[in-house]
Symmetry: C2
Subunit: 523 residues, 2 copies
């Protein structure tokens, strides 16, 4: 666990939360209807539901029912989670928070829970924005949040094969710190990097640093070790295999419903020695999309390939006058990359782009500006939430043939919904976070003024409208935020019915007592 004090109600580090005055100033950019920030309640003074179960003696040392622990493990970090926490609504709080420091303790918690009908919600660092760590059912005797953060070690490094055995509770910075002396890196940098764990990334199929080729954490998995209620599932360490359906792929994306990932052998990268990046501007967002497609289909595999639409580009300060910005980055541990960047820029220019001048070897200011805004964004989201501004980010993927229509439909249809729900125009911006030869992964940000006391209801209406639009267009309900509970309506419609039967059967086989994260993926 990071030594910095974590916010129990909002994103990340408590001391990074914006002070009230900044919340007010930020909120005023969206609306002047709300003048004061929602106060942050004193967690010790909050009314938590009664604790319904005590741990058995053997597990007592790793369990806690302290109010701070229960409060901080009640929700993830979705907008609706933050609002409810600020409102002091902690109704779904777990009865206990378990912090095992050995795999045997994970097994013992599951055994005890299965025997006593206690639901277990696996918890990495709680950055879920889809209700992935919030128990919402009421058919169990009690609920335990199973916090893996004490299992945070890099246990073994295979320098030759460039791989490491890493415990699931390791946070991004912690695992990188342990790999750095070996010249290696996992290079998985989701926005939540500081406040999410390897196990969480694996269980949710997180999207990472690479815009092309290695977009999901899935691609870096050599083998998984998963504690299920019927035994430990450990796959062989293999660079590739064709022996039946991949066992690992069943657990990747299983969101704690099929087992608890305790460790994984992960493929690593050498630290890049050569890097180059550049920004390309486009006057027309559709021209920009065609250029990004050409890049995605070129086989040049940029590490970064992020398209910001005019709204995003303006917000990030990297373009103006309705221009779109494409941020390209290439990197290598072995060979110089300036030639590859030049090829990419030629391609972008051939497709109507205007590269911003960058002196060779100097950092790309636009990329840096964007990157720091990116990591700061969740704190700004919380500040706006305190001003009752409605913010939702959702992400998807579709094939290129439908991308322009998706972009236009989401923007126009969702703008209508925002107007209907909030009475204001709001903004709907878009960026492409990852791109594939056959399609992009668009990421939308919606910002609109809300009404105090109605934030969650307003957010829910916008969220479900967004899901409806994606469904109508045949786009996925999530590219890398996972399903959790908030995306269930879209997921249930997207998932082929025979596969749903197979998944339910697999769940019943692996978790016969039905204690593992009830309500995610399946009922």
């Amino acid at each position: 666990m990071s030594s910095r004090s974590r916010s129990w109600w909002g994103w990340g580090a408590a001391d990074e939360a914006l002070p009230d005055a900044e919340c007010v100033a930020l909120g005023a950019l969206v609306s002047d209807a709300v003048q004061t920030p929602l106060p942050v309640p004193d967690v010790a003074a909050l009314a938590l539901p009664k604790v319904r179960i005590e741990p058995p003696r053997a597990l007592a040392p790793v369990m806690s029912a302290a109010p701070e622990d229960r409060a901080s493990h009640t929700y993830g970090k979705a907008y609706r989670d933050v609002i409810r926490a600020l409102n002091g609504d902690l109704a779904p709080a777990p009865d206990q928070v378990a912090r095992p420091s050995t795999e045997q303790e994970v097994i013992d918690v599951l055994d005890w829970a299965a025997d006593t009908d206690v639901a277990v919600v696996p918890y990495g660092a709680g950055s879920s924005v889809v209700g992935g760590v919030e128990y919402r059912a009421d058919r169990h005797r009690a609920v335990v949040s199973l916090d893996l953060s004490s299992l945070d070690q890099v246990l073994e490094i295979d320098r030759v094969s460039r791989a490491a055995r890493i415990q699931a509770g390791a946070l991004g910075p912690g695992l990188e710190t342990q790999l750095r002396p070996h010249g290696l890196t996992l290079r998985h940098f989701p926005q939540s990097f500081e406040f999410s764990t390897l196990g969480g990334w694996l269980a949710t199929r997180a999207g990472g640093h690479y815009a092309t080729l290695y977009t999901h954490i899935d691609d870096f998995v050599e083998s998984l070790r998963v504690v299920t209620p019927v035994g430990v599932n450990e796959s062989l360490r293999l660079p590739g295999s064709g022996a039946g359906p991949s066992p690992d792929r069943l657990f990747l994306g299983s969101e704690g419903a099929l087992g608890v990932i305790t460790e994984a052998w992960m493929r690593l990268q050498e630290r890049p020695r050569h890097k180059a990046s550049a920004t390309v501007l486009f006057d027309d967002v559709h021209v920009a999309m065609d250029a990004v497609r050409a890049v995605a289909q070129s086989g040049l595999h940029p590490a970064n390939c992020r398209l910001l639409d005019p709204g995003e580009a303006a917000l990030a300060g990297v373009a103006r006058d309705s221009q779109s910005a494409l941020i390209l980055g290439v990197e290598s541990a072995h060979v110089p990359v300036d030639g590859r960047l030049a090829e990419l820029l030629t391609l972008a220019r051939d497709h109507g782009g205007t590269p911003l001048p960058t002196a060779p070897g100097t950092p790309n200011a636009a990329a840096d500006t964007w990157r720091s805004a990116f990591l700061r964004m969740p704190y700004l989201r919380d500040a706006l939430a305190r001003m009752s501004v409605i913010i939702e980010t959702f992400e998807t993927a579709c094939t290129w043939d439908r991308a322009p229509q998706l972009y236009e439909s989401v923007r126009s249809q969702l703008a209508d919904v925002v107007r209907e729900v909030t009475g204001a125009a709001g903004t709907v911006n878009c960026r492409f976070t990852h791109v594939y030869p056959d399609g992009p992964a668009p990421y939308f940000t919606v910002i609109a003024p809300g009404r105090r006391g109605e934030e969650v209801a307003m957010w829910d209406r916008i969220k479900s409208a967004a899901m409806e639009i994606l469904h109508d267009l045949g786009a996925t309900v999530t590219h890398h935020h996972a399903v959790g509970r908030d995306h269930r309506p879209g997921y249930d419609r997207q998932r082929p019915e025979p596969f749903a039967l197979a998944l339910r059967a697999a769940k019943a086989a692996l978790d016969p007592a039905g204690i593992l994260n009830p309500g995610v993926l399946l009922d």
Copy 2:
């Protein structure tokens, strides 16, 4: 279906089989103990088991119990299959061969089979070398081979996203012919390319053209359409998704045990305009392995990266004097590749290799020599089989840290087994067919003189010894040949037990009557 007449007993096209005199000459290279080739029986004269079931009237037009159909659908093309066919042993022949020409007919066959307790063995083009299409149980009333080869059309092409909807029964050449006018290619070229189907590749996770990045057909799947006994499973066309465990990954590698793949949206490539290749020689095979590892970890992603050990290189005529040969190839539809090849050759030279001189722009003779030998190999295998020579090819994958030991152990331990079984030294050669940053996929070829009448028993002993050695070293039982029935002992031990429970449960949910390819993957 190819218009060329297919061999009912051996590989590929009937007219490509070697004449008797060539069989004798080839056999003499291995042993002079056997002087005459096993005769090829007249299929019309063979005793086939009695047909136990007649089709219902509605399905009669797509079903056949003709001896030629039953004989040619009895086995795949493993060595033991060829020997048994030559011996006229067709005991496991299916009762009927169904050739549906619509998906509805596939559904109708499954419905009828489930109702009447008839086992259904999905059949693409029958190139399985692992017993994937041979019914070996005896608990069903009858057996139908479900031949998909009439469903062979490219139904739709999305030029923008570079993808096509292709029916599962399309053979390699047929689908490429349909894609060529659009300037696109699937570029999946397994050794069986001419005589295997898209559906077969998907069901067995076939390995293809690309030595790096896109090694398995899995990577080119956008969505699958699978007929299961409980309904049609169709996934969304998506370039990427994080919505729960991948539905497609459950069916990829399911080998006909969970459903019948009828079509797929496949990611395509533009036809490469730039190609370059070169051969690098090494005096020491372990130095060569280190060089290949450097290439695999360089991020340069050669399309071809095939290491031939001294025995393979000598057989292929690309090296001599105990040298190993590394064949490198790069290709691109968009940018020249000579620079990338030069970088690869620098890397290989830095790691102790000696590139063979090739004039720029001229074809690489060694690569071409090797490629034609590669496609010819199965016919030579059949010719040697007719001379009772024992031949087995098996392939695996392991991490780089274990690769040298795997290479040495397989060669020495298997040589011992070969000597014990055959009384002769035999040869055990190896090549790396695909390479990953974290490990290679070694492919072994075993050749030794056999004794007439004991071929299958001798082969079985060598096969099971090979599986044992791979298991002891933690290598996968198969990288791209699949599991079928022949690899079950190794697969059963490799597969994590909780995953086995989940897979059995999924099978029971999707195939409640247990009619689909009984015995592959699961009992």
